[in-house]
């Protein structure tokens, strides 16, 4: 038993880990705190989606080519979820891997599983802040989501966060941090602009193939829930398939160091 001295001069108890739920919660709050204090992360997770929401609302007042707030508000929420779960989480994880922070944390009582669960809690905390700020702004701009649909919207957000976090970890755990930074930022912009997250894709012809993208599935799920108040079965199934695939791939290929 370790007997390192303490201030009271008594022999301390043998080393033990804190209870599992406390460790995971502590790590989730620690990561969320780091994310919300990081200026670059806040820019991508909150400021840019906010600018897109307000910009599209203004653009709709000028031209009907841009959809109205009932369509763009859930789309911007999808963009925000992708920003925190995919871009933000993967870049942070990539650099943690490069600086061997993941290696160090995996040697603490947190362990690899606690680390992943903690990250999931952190992503959900950030998404909660995003939903509050962006949802509140949307409501102020005239967004009127279906009250029942908000439940399905919540399901879509959770599934989308899981799919994009797993995809982000897959990239962060397999390539260099600088490559993760470049790949996830470009992918976020492409998926946001043309991947069906913010602006709906055509359901006919070649465009329908893109509905299989996780960004399109998330956008479709949130729009269907918020506008019609119905359970978006197909988009949620597509998201579930992405979750399973990405988690399996991440488990297989993720490297801690």
């Amino acid at each position: 038993m370790s007997t390192q001295p303490n201030t009271t001069g008594t022999t301390p108890p043998a080393p033990r880990p804190a209870p599992a739920h406390r460790r995971v919660l502590a790590h989730g709050l620690y990561e969320a705190q780091i994310t919300l204090r990081n200026g670059e992360q806040l820019l991508v997770s909150l400021i840019l989606p906010l600018l897109v929401l307000i910009g599209l609302h203004r653009a709709h007042a000028i031209t009907d080519i841009v959809p109205e707030i009932q369509t763009t508000a859930p789309g911007v929420l999808a963009l925000a979820v992708m920003a925190s779960a995919f871009t933000g989480a993967s870049i942070a994880t990539g650099f943690e891997r490069q600086y061997r922070v993941l290696a160090f944390l995996s040697t603490t009582p947190l362990g690899p599983t606690g680390l992943i669960l903690g990250k999931a809690i952190a992503v959900l905390c950030v998404i909660l802040v995003q939903l509050t700020v962006l949802g509140g702004t949307g409501l102020a701009l005239g967004w009127e989501p279906d009250p029942v649909g908000l439940i399905w919207l919540g399901c879509g957000v959770v599934l989308g966060a899981a799919a994009f976090t797993a995809l982000g970890l897959l990239i962060a755990g397999t390539v260099r941090a600088e490559a993760t930074l470049a790949v996830t930022n470009v992918a976020w912009v492409l998926m946001g602009a043309a991947g069906g997250a913010v602006i709906p894709l055509s359901h006919e012809g070649a465009g329908a193939l893109l509905l299989g993208l996780p960004s399109a599935a998330l956008g479709e799920a949130l729009r269907e829930a918020a506008i019609h108040g119905t359970l978006p079965v197909i988009p949620l199934l597509i998201l579930t398939a992405w979750v399973v695939t990405a988690v399996l791939l991440a488990r297989r290929f993720f490297r801690w160091t």
Binding site: S2, N6, T7, P12, P15, R16, A20, I34, F104, P109
Partner: protein
């Protein structure tokens, strides 16, 4: 020492990178490492760059799965370790593993929250003199300050065994002494300490036992006294420690002259005057000295400088590391 005092054992541990099918083939990093560490002792692992020190620690800590062999850390397989075992072990990585954007106080509070009975942060802060930079983000800290934060993070759970990979790298003499004092205190409290270092003087000062790694294998191990006495007949009998004589030659020694020497004479790797400075290892009797003196007379050489001292760990290291 009872077997229960063992806190770490590696038996025939091998680790290889790559695959036989790839163009670069398989690179063997560890080629059968045997190593033990005990509670209340400082076990030092030394070896040249690329010898496998960090990989050995990685296997011992459970971060790397060995290709073959057995690792027991506090009686368990560290690769499959749960939180209970990890709480009993502290790890300081070679390059810290510290998040760059976080303040040390935030990080240490977080690591502390993962343990049930952590070392009080205030106490640890005072012991390692962290107070002046506890609220400065890690990326703005000097190398030595980062080392002390990493050490604090390794110790905050009051581990029974602590792994320190190059703990004094980048530290100024004052901070180094602070760390040495803490390591000595931990040892006296029964904590097992396994550390790697390139500073052989530090190893000699701290170590209860030393393992010298070369090409992925432990080529020598024992206490400092055992290692420095090895090679001497009298030392083997336990009577006289082997000594080492170095001399500076005012002229070039020919191969024939060197061949005529009564004891092996080799260029002194420990100095920067290669070519003019020579070393004779393992002198253990007055007759050895007399024979050397006669040899100098025979080849008409009056050394410009002579030094005679007990063999150090550094001498053993050079001997072992020679290609």
């Amino acid at each position: 020492m009872p077997a229960s005092a063992l806190c770490l054992s590696l038996t025939g541990v091998r680790y290889a990178l790559g695959s036989a099918r790839s163009a670069s083939g398989v690179t063997e990093i560890l080629a059968g490492v045997d190593l033990t560490a005990r509670r209340g002792e400082v076990t030092v692992i030394i070896g040249p760059n690329g010898a496998g020190k960090t990989t050995t620690l990685g296997c011992a800590q459970g971060m790397i799965r060995p290709s073959a062999g057995t690792v027991r850390l506090l009686g368990q397989d560290p690769y499959r370790a749960g939180a209970e075992l990890r709480a009993r072990v502290g790890v300081m990585l070679q390059d810290g593993g510290l998040p760059q954007s976080v303040k040390p106080v935030t990080l240490l509070r977080h690591i502390s929250a993962l343990h049930q009975y952590p070392w009080p942060l205030k106490d640890l802060t005072e012991r390692l003199d962290l107070g002046s930079f506890l609220t400065t983000s890690v990326r703005r800290l000097s190398g030595g300050q980062k080392q002390r934060i990493a050490l604090a993070a390794a110790l905050i759970g009051r581990p029974e065994l602590v792994f320190l990979d190059e703990p004094s790298a980048g530290l100024d003499p004052q901070s180094r002494q602070l760390v040495f004092d803490l390591i000595s205190e931990l040892r006296s409290c029964g904590t097992g300490i396994v550390l790697t270092t390139h500073l052989l003087e530090e190893a000699q000062q701290l170590a209860d036992s030393v393992h010298i790694l070369k090409d992925g294998q432990v080529v020598r191990h024992g206490t400092v006294a055992e290692l420095t006495h090895q090679g001497s007949a009298a030392a083997r009998n336990g009577t006289v420690p082997a000594r080492r004589l170095t001399f500076a030659s005012p002229r070039i020694l020919t191969a024939a002259e060197l061949k005529a020497a009564p004891l092996p004479v080799a260029q002194d790797n420990g100095t920067n005057r290669a070519g003019s400075c020579w070393a004779v290892e393992n002198i253990s009797t007055p007759a050895d000295l007399q024979a050397l003196s006669s040899w100098w007379a025979q080849i008409d050489l009056l050394p410009a400088e002579i030094s005679f001292e007990a063999r150090t760990l550094e001498d053993v290291f050079w001997e072992v590391s020679a290609p």
